[in-house]
Amino acid sequence: MKTFLTTTALIALALPAMAEIKLGASISATGPAAFLGDPELKTLEMLVEDLNAKGGINGEEVVLVAYDDNGDPNKARTFATRLVEDDEVVAIIGGTTTGTSMSILAVAEDAEIPFISLAGAIDIIDPVKPFTFKTPHTDRMACQKIFEDMQNRGFTKVGMISGTDGFGASMQAQCKSVAPDYGIEIVADETYDPKDADMTAQLTKIRGVEGVQAILNPGFGQGPSIVTRNVKQLAIDLPFYQSHGVASDGFIDLAGADAAEGVRLPGTALLVADLLAEDDPQKPVVDAYKAMFEAKTGTPVGTFGGYAHDAFLIMTDAIARAGSAEPAAIRDAIEATTGLAGTTGVYTFTAEDHLGLDLTAFRMLEIKGGKWTLVQ
C-alpha cells in the first residue's frame, strides 16, 4: 500500500499541469430501468467528450467514472462507495431509479460529496439534504400540471388507472392528494400490473362510473401503451391523459399513432424542440442537445437523457463558477444556481429547494397525427 501511495504521489508531482476533475456516475444502463439509464449514460459520455474537446472546465479536463448498477439499489450503494472511497470523485451524478438514488444519497451525504439524482420521487429532496439535488420534476408536479389543464377544460370527475410499479404507485398517491386543490374528484381508482397485457376490464369499469369526464393513466414502460390501445379498442370517447413517464417517441410507436391521437400529457421542451418560440429561454440548449444526441446515437432524444444532460450542465456550471473542484465549494455553487436553462426547465436552486423547477417547466402536450404538439 505504501508503494502504491508513493507511486501515486510521484505521478502527481511529475504531472502538475495535467489537472483533472473526476466526476462519478452510477446509472442503470442495463436491467429493468435500462430504457431510462441507457440514454442517460450515452448523454453523459457524449457531453464529457464534447466538454473536453472544448477545453474542459477552466482548462481542466473532466474525467467521468461511470458504473452500471443494473437498477439494483444494493449495487448502487456499493458503486457509490467505490466512487467516493476508491475513485475519489468530487461529485456524483446518477441514481436512475428512486431506489438507487436513495442508496447513493446516503453514501454521498456521509462523505459530503455533491450528488445530483436523475429519479422522480419527491422523497429524494424532501426533506432537503445538504448535498443532494435532483433534475427531474416530481410526480406531484406532473399531477398538478394535468389537473390544471383539466380545470381549464372544466372537468371535475376523473377516473384513474395506475401501474403498480414504483413510478405508477407513487404518482397515483400524489395525484389523489393534490386533486382536491383543483376541485377534482377521483371517481374511479383502478390499477394494473406493469406486466399485464390487457387492461380492458379496468377501463370498462371506469367507463361505467357515472359522470366520469376524463381518464388519467400514471405509469411507465409498456403498460400505458396498452392502456392507450385498449381505450381506442373500447371506443371510450373520454379525454385521456398520460403521465410524463411516457414522454418519448417510443410511446407513440408502441401505442400506434391512431390510438394515441388526442392523448395529452405533461412533457418537457425537448419533445417539441421544433415548436418552441424563438425567444424561449430553453430553445438554444434544447436545440443543441437534440442535434448532438441525434447525430451521435442516431436515436431520437427523450426526456430521460435530458435529465442527465441537465445534471451534467448544473454540475459543470457549478464547478466553473466555484473555480475549484472541492466538493464543499461545488455544493455551495450548485445551491446558488439561478436561472440556468436546461432541457427539462429553468433551474433556480435555493437552500430550501433542491429541485429548482416550477410548473412552468412542464409543457402540456397533445399527440396529433403521430406528432407532439403544444397545447396553448
Partner: protein, 316 residues
C-alpha cells in the same frame, strides 16, 4: 488440528488480516457484502449440501429479515438488534409452516413450494405500500452499535465497522454450521442425503430432519437480509427477488455445495466478479455464465471440495 478448526482459523485470519492489503476503504464495503452473502450461502449448504433439498425462495427469508429491521423499530418500538431476532423468528415459523407438509413428499417439491413462497413474499413487500412503502424502498434505522463502540473508545469508520461486524457474525455462523455437521443431526442429514431409503430403514425421521435443515437455513438467510438492511440503512423489495434466491444457490454450487469453506469462496467470487468486471460491464453475464459452465464440467463438486480432493489425492 481438525478440519473444522482449520476452516474457522483460516477464516478468522483472512478476515482479520485482509484489511492490510486494502488499497482504499471501499474494500471494507466489498468485504462486508461478501460476508453477508456467505452467511446466507452457509444456510444453503446446510439445506442443499447436507439435507439434499433445493430452495428457490431463500431470498424471501432475506426479505423478511430485512424488512423486520425496517419496520419493527418504527411500528413496534423494538431495538433494531431485537428486530433481527424477530425477523429470524418469523422466517423460522414460516419455513416450518411451508416445509412441514412439503417435506413429507419425496423429490424436489420443496424447490417449487419455496419458489412460490419467495415470489409471494416479494409481491407482498411490493404491494403492501401502506406498510412497506412499495418498490421505492424504505429507510432502515441505525443499529447503534458503532456509536456504543465509539463511546467505549473504539472509533471505527462505517465501512470498517460493518466489515468486522459481518465478519464476526459469519465466523459464528460458520462455527455453528460446522458443529451441526459433526453432531448427530448433521450425520443423520448427510446419511439421508446419501440414501433416503437407507436412512429410513435405520429408523430416522426423514421428514423431521429435512424440516430442521430448512428452518435453520431460513434463519441464516433472514439474518443475512437483516445485516444487509442495517448496513445499507435503506432496503427495497429487490432483496426478496427471485434473482437473489438464484444467486444464493449459484454461489453455493460454485464454491462447493457440501462445504462451508466452499460457500464462503463461492460468495466471495460472485460478489467480487461484478466489481472486477466493471470495465467490461457488458460481458459480465457472459463471464459469470462461462465460469459456472466450466466449474460444472471440470470441478463438479464445486471449486473448494474438488481442489481439496486433488491436493489430498496427491498427498496419499
Amino acid at each position: 488440528m481438525t478440519p473444522k478448526n482449520a476452516t474457522l482459523l483460516a477464516l478468522a485470519i483472512l478476515i482479520a488480516l485482509s484489511p492490510i492489503f486494502f488499497p482504499s476503504s471501499f474494500y471494507y464495503r466489498v468485504g462486508a457484502l461478501i460476508f453477508v452473502n456467505a452467511l446466507a450461502v452457509t444456510g444453503i449448504v446446510i439445506l442443499t449440501g447436507w439435507a439434499g433439498q433445493i430452495s428457490l425462495g431463500h431470498a424471501g427469508f432475506a426479505g423478511i429479515g430485512a424488512y423486520a429491521c425496517a419496520l419493527a423499530p418504527v411500528h413496534l418500538g423494538l431495538h433494531p438488534a431485537l428486530a433481527v431476532l424477530l425477523g429470524a423468528l418469523i422466517s423460522a415459523v414460516l419455513a416450518w409452516l411451508v416445509g412441514r407438509p412439503i417435506l413429507r413428499l419425496k423429490g424436489y417439491y420443496l424447490a417449487v413450494a419455496s419458489l412460490g413462497m419467495g415470489i409471494l413474499i416479494s409481491m407482498v413487500l411490493n404491494n403492501e405500500r401502506d406498510l412497506t412503502r412499495g418498490p421505492d424502498g424504505i429507510d432502515v434505522p441505525e443499529l447503534g452499535l458503532r456509536a456504543l463502540l465509539k463511546d467505549a473508545g473504539l472509533d471505527l469508520s462505517n465501512g470498517q465497522f460493518w466489515y468486522f461486524f459481518c465478519g464476526i457474525v459469519l465466523i459464528l455462523g460458520a462455527w455453528l454450521a460446522l458443529n451441526l455437521r459433526d453432531s448427530a443431526t448433521g450425520r443423520a442429514l448427510r446419511a439421508l442425503h446419501g440414501s433416503e431409503v437407507a436412512a429410513k430403514t435405520v429408523g430416522m425421521d426423514v421428514a423431521r430432519l429435512k424440516l430442521q435443515a430448512f428452518v435453520i437455513s431460513a434463519v441464516y438467510a433472514s439474518i443475512s437480509g437483516s445485516l444487509l438492511a442495517l448496513q445499507n440503512k435503506f432496503i427495497t423489495p429487490d432483496v426478496a427477488g427471485f434473482m437473489h434466491s438464484v444467486e444464493m444457490v449459484t454461489m453455493a454450487v460454485l464454491g462447493g455445495v457440501g462445504s462451508v469453506a466452499g460457500a464462503i469462496f463461492g460468495a466471495a467470487v460472485l460478489t467480487l466478479l461484478p466489481q472486477v468486471l466493471t470495465v467490461f460491464a457488458e460481458y459480465e453475464q457472459l463471464v459469470l455464465g462461462l465460469v459456472m459452465v466450466l466449474v460444472m464440467i471440470f470441478l463438479r463438486e464445486g471449486v473448494v471440495p474438488s481442489i481439496l480432493r486433488k491436493i489430498r489425492g496427491r498427498g496419499e
